[in-house]
């Protein structure tokens, strides 16, 4: 579904829609290629135009908790330790939970298919959790009497379902006690069965909200939204109390809640998962052939340690940075093993902060081996893969598949031609029309040609061609916007682009709202407003979370453009 912007329905945003594309193409487009037009007014140019834009009218599709959210919710609601989650039957059941599909985000409700594997894994997880959990705190008395049974269902249910239960819900669990009593077993046996049933119930497994009573989002529902935004997990006692005391009813209260929650380690975990999704690190182990598991683990560890240091103020200055800082910072966190890939010598054995101002070819997340290797073609660099990655990750734009009838395989170049030469051939209008599209993203990746598929820097490619790192940032029409001489200049240039700044606000919004954003005025304004608010608050990751949490699209009943 690649960001849901199909050409045929004019969903491609901006003038980039002019571009069709072939992925390795050199050739003539045999039929007249009519680029889709952009609906007038679909993209308000400024924040000022965004006053009083109504929310999209459609109803969002119910979202299931992601794999990470299920596990974190289970752990936090029942107070299970990290060790308990990873060992024994519980660890095995957790390992059997299917991975999420990314389309466009791993939280997107429209990409979720509940398979038989999900259901068997949920059942196993519930059974193991019921064995591992201490139910004492949820039990007020241990008799098969209504006061004891009801109370247990209400207390445990409120924790797991993230709100007080309704009477029909409570009633639904009570027959379990009758069965256990008739079998002659004790109260705790029944309590564990109720827990198993709750963990497989839709109120736990789905982001269920009551839409039957008009347009009100309840304080507890808002607390859940906040918890999954900041922690990717269930609300805690303090957040529940804040909701019940009406503290989430104001922007100031919401901000206070987000800032308090940001000091919790769960916020760090959630941010790491988001960044890894954003730069598509799930491809690391498959894309980078020839790397050992230890090497890919070291690469991943670098990116995680760097992300933690930048976003959470562990960089020595105490400052908490934002997503843009991940791209622009000129240092990293290296272990001696990975330093070898950088051509550096790092003393000691553990990870250490290393200044990269003396390493001109490296700067920020985009030059980290984990990211470079995730967007490569085997062990070779790939201008096409990396260019598309940069286009999608930093500008939130996409390019449709190649147009019809293009021969994407022929080239006048020898096998030994460099990646850069192949790209320049594609972009040359005299060789065909491939450049119509490739010029929109190939040049973004020129700076990375010296990095092979494992993220090592080299001055010559495998054929002995000298590598180059000069190029240019294209504008929306694929024309030269700004030339750069090296990675450093590319990153400076990208950091200045409004499109990049807006995209870095759009990405977390897509995760938070669990849907791709549309091209209509409402979604467009949402991005502009959140970006503006986050920037004015300091531009940190937490500032961005606050800007999202306090925006009406997050706090009110949600809509969704028709994206089918």
């Amino acid at each position: 579904m690649s960001w849901g912007r199909s050409v045929g329905r004019a969903r491609v945003r901006g003038a980039w829609a002019l571009l069709g594309l072939a992925l390795a193409c050199t050739g003539e487009i045999s039929e007249p290629y009519a680029p889709p037009s952009i609906p007038a007014g679909a993209r308000p140019a400024t924040l000022d135009a965004c006053v009083e834009v109504p929310a999209p009218a459609g109803t969002p599709l119910l979202a299931r908790l992601t794999r990470n959210e299920v596990l974190a919710s289970l752990r936090d609601a029942l107070g299970l330790s990290a060790e308990a989650m990873e060992s024994g039957a519980l660890g095995a059941a957790a390992g059997a939970l299917p991975l999420e599909t990314r389309a466009p985000a791993t939280t997107s409700s429209r990409a979720q298919t509940t398979t038989f594997d999900h259901v068997t894994a949920y059942a196993a997880l519930a059974e193991a959790a019921a064995e591992a959990a201490d139910l004492g705190p949820f039990i007020t008395c241990r008799a098969f009497r209504p006061d004891c049974t009801r109370s247990f269902v209400e207390v445990l249910g409120e924790r797991l379902f993230r709100r007080p239960l309704r009477d029909p819900e409570v009633q639904g669990f009570l027959p379990v006690f009758d069965l256990v009593a008739s079998e002659g077993d004790d109260f705790d046996v029944a309590a564990r069965l109720v827990l198993r049933a709750m963990l497989q119930s839709p109120q736990f497994l789905y982001h269920l909200e009551d839409r039957s009573a008009g347009d009100r989002v309840s304080p507890r529902e808002l607390a859940s939204r906040l918890a999954y935004l900041v922690w990717a997990s269930t609300p805690d006692e303090a957040l529940r109390a804040a909701a019940d005391d009406g503290e989430l009813a104001t922007a100031a209260g919401l901000e206070a809640a987000v800032r308090r929650m940001s000091d919790d380690p769960r916020a760090l975990t959630a941010s790491l998962a988001f960044v890894e999704d954003w730069v598509a690190l799930e491809r690391l182990e498959q894309a980078a052939r020839g790397l050992t598991p230890a090497e890919t683990a070291a690469m991943r560890a670098e990116t995680e340690a760097f992300t933690e240091a930048v976003l959470w103020g562990d960089d020595g200055t105490g400052a908490r940075g934002g997503l843009l800082d991940l791209v622009t910072e000129d240092w990293t966190v290296l272990t001696p093993a990975l330093a070898e890939v950088y051509g550096l010598d790092v003393p000691g054995s553990g990870p250490q902060r290393v200044d990269l101002s003396g390493v001109p070819e490296r700067r920020g997340l985009l030059t980290q081996p984990a990211v470079l290797a995730s967007h490569a073609n085997g062990n070779r660099p790939s201008i096409v893969s990396r260019g598309l990655f940069l286009l999608r990750a930093l500008t939130c734009r996409d390019i449709p598949d190649p147009p019809v009838g293009v021969d994407t395989t022929t080239t006048a170049l020898p096998e030994t031609a460099s990646e850069r030469a192949r790209s320049e051939e594609r972009l040359d209008p005299s060789t065909g029309e491939c450049g119509l599209c490739h010029r929109a993203f190939d040049p973004l990746a020129y700076a990375f040609e010296p990095f092979d598929g494992t993220g090592r820097y080299q001055t010559e490619d495998v054929h002995g061609n000298a590598t180059r790192e000069d190029g240019w940032i294209p504008n929306e029409d694929g024309e030269v916007l700004q030339p750069y001489a090296n990675v450093d200049e590319l990153i400076d240039g990208l950091a200045e682009l409004p499109a990049v700044r807006e995209c870095l606000a759009e990405k977390p919004l897509v995760y938070a709202l669990r849907r791709g954003l549309g091209t209509g005025a409402a979604d467009r304004c949402l991005v502009l407003q959140v970006e503006d608010a986050a920037r004015r608050a300091g531009g940190g990751y937490v500032d961005l979370l606050v800007a999202i949490a306090t925006h009406p699209s997050f706090t009110r009943l949600r809509g969704e453009e028709d994206r089918r």
């Binding site: 069709g20 390795a24 259901v119 639904g172 027959p175 379990v176 269920l208 894309a287 449709p400 147009p403």
Partner: protein, 480 residues
């Protein structure tokens, strides 16, 4: 000729007879997956040959077969393998999704339109029949069996061909024969064991089973409540949750000693465990968006695919399920095949210089066309193999096989891989208990009209939520 007569006339000694009535008479064994006894008894009393239950199996392959290669129908040289079962098939030529559309977006468009009629506009025909004929729940252990090989998972659109509701995929395809086996035959309950007084262990186990059932029943009660009007869920959201519920019901049937309502299948209904396949290419193609495609030994692929077919067909024959989709390759697949493909006494060689997708793009007389004609031959041979398997066992009391009685449809996403159009899209239909014509049938019909004919053939008066311009219109020339 009635299906029964046809069944008798073709290889009478070859076909295994596995009728439901035989199963029910079987030596005290209990037939899980068969219709509820009450339903069976009722129909047996009042009719000698009760009508076969509605079943739909769709088969999908990527990239299409250009119309020029279908010019001579089943006598077309590269469709030759299909001639073996041609007397039961209709090759429907002239089906379109949309006229004049030529775009690479048609991989997704066609993949989402096939078996639906409109792009993600409603349920696919398998699910439409499940919903209409059974109210959404067939009396089988598995509601829908969605399986296949080599799909691109970089987007839903290219590998999902069964939809429960607009945009709501019925299931993610199972792509591993071992997992398919585990889901179907591997999870069948064991024999009930001795009939003596139960031991303490047996009593404890029985109690645990009652508890486990209570847990699932209690959770299901919550699903019922949540999908009532209590939370104001949209129909779309309810459809998504309903698919979850069906999987829980299936789990329930796997775990428990089935009550009187379902019986364990007889010994003849046991698939061979296909074991674990070593298929790194398959894993890679599922996860990668690398457009250079994945190299694949055609023989390894075919061993895997045929294992999928074996388990799936037997699951249908044993009435473990009545609805499903099998996918040979996904829309816009980019596989680079190498090695020799052998079927029906002939050998075809593959050249892995390019992916089949790229070869279709470059289709022109000469060596590329020769390669692609061999590839068409593979499609035809694998379709023929599937149809022969569906036809090798009598499953119903009217003497018919699945190919006779079920609605079987084969389709794809493109008309012609060179033009990437969605006109003249290859379609085969069969079965429906003799209600469908056979032979080569030339039509000028949007797919919705063809699928509506399928619904009529099964005796349903409802229509597909396909292309709105063709709502309710039926390609009646397909009907007997």
């Amino acid at each position: 000729m009635s299906p029964k007569d046809r069944a008798r006339s073709r290889n009478p000694g070859y076909r295994r007879v596995l009728s439901r009535r035989t199963l029910l008479r079987g030596a005290g064994s209990i037939a899980i997956g068969l219709p509820f006894l009450s339903e069976m008894r009722a129909s047996s009393v009042f009719a000698a040959d009760p009508p076969p239950p509605p079943r739909v199996l769709t088969f999908y392959f990527g990239l299409g077969i250009p119309s020029e290669y279908q010019r001579d129908g089943f006598m077309s040289p590269h469709l030759a393998p299909l001639a073996r079962v041609a007397d039961k098939l209709a090759l429907v030529r002239g089906v379109y999704y949309e006229k004049g559309s030529r775009s690479t977006g048609n991989h997704a468009r066609g993949s989402e339109t096939v078996f639906v009629g409109g792009r993600r506009s409603g349920a696919s025909i398998d699910q439409r029949v499940l919903q209409e004929a059974y109210g959404g729940r067939a009396p089988t252990r598995i509601q829908s069996l969605i399986a296949g090989s080599y799909s691109r998972q970089d987007g839903q659109s290219r590998h999902i061909h069964s939809w429960a509701a607009p945009g709501i995929a019925t299931d993610a395809p199972i792509e591993d024969p071992k997992r398919l086996f585990d889901r179907t035959f591997g999870s069948l309950p064991m024999d009930p064991g001795s009939s003596g007084p139960p031991s303490e262990t047996e009593r404890a186990r029985a109690r645990e089973a009652r508890y486990a059932r209570s847990v699932l029943d209690t959770a299901l009660e919550q699903y019922r409540y949540v999908t009532s009007d209590a939370f104001g869920l949209s129909d779309e959201s309810k459809a998504k949750v309903a698919l979850h519920v069906e999987k829980i019901r299936e789990l329930e049937m796997n775990i428990f000693d089935p009550d009187a309502e379902m019986e364990a299948p007889p010994a003849t209904c046991r698939a061979e465990d296909p074991g674990v396949f070593d298929h790194p290419e398959m894993i890679e193609i599922q996860r990668t968006t690398n457009n250079e495609g994945v190299r694949m030994d055609v023989n390894r692929w075919m061993r895997l695919w045929r294992a999928m077919v074996d388990v799936s067909v037997l699951a249908f024959q044993c009435d473990l399920c009545r609805f499903g989709n099998l996918q040979l390759t996904s829309g816009g697949e980019r596989i680079r095949l190498y090695g020799s493909y052998e079927a029906y006494g002939q050998t075809r060689s593959y050249d892995d210089g390019e992916t089949t997708h790229e070869y279709w793009h470059r289709l022109a007389p000469g060596p590329v066309e020769a390669l692609m004609l061999d590839h068409v031959w593979l499609y035809a041979a694998e379709m023929a193999h599937l149809f022969e398997r569906l036809d090798d066992t009598v499953v119903d009391e009217n003497g018919g096989t699945l190919l006779d009685n079920a609605l079987v449809m084969a389709g794809t996403e493109l008309g012609n891989g060179r033009a990437h159009d969605v006109e003249d899209v290859f379609h085969l239909v069969a079965g429906a208990n003799g209600r469908l014509r056979t032979g080569v049938i030339d039509v000028d019909r949007q797919a919705t009209e063809v699928y509506n004919a399928g619904l009529r053939a099964l005796g349903l008066s409802v229509s597909m939520d396909g292309d709105r311009d063709y709502a309710g219109s039926v390609a009646s020339e397909l009907l007997v």
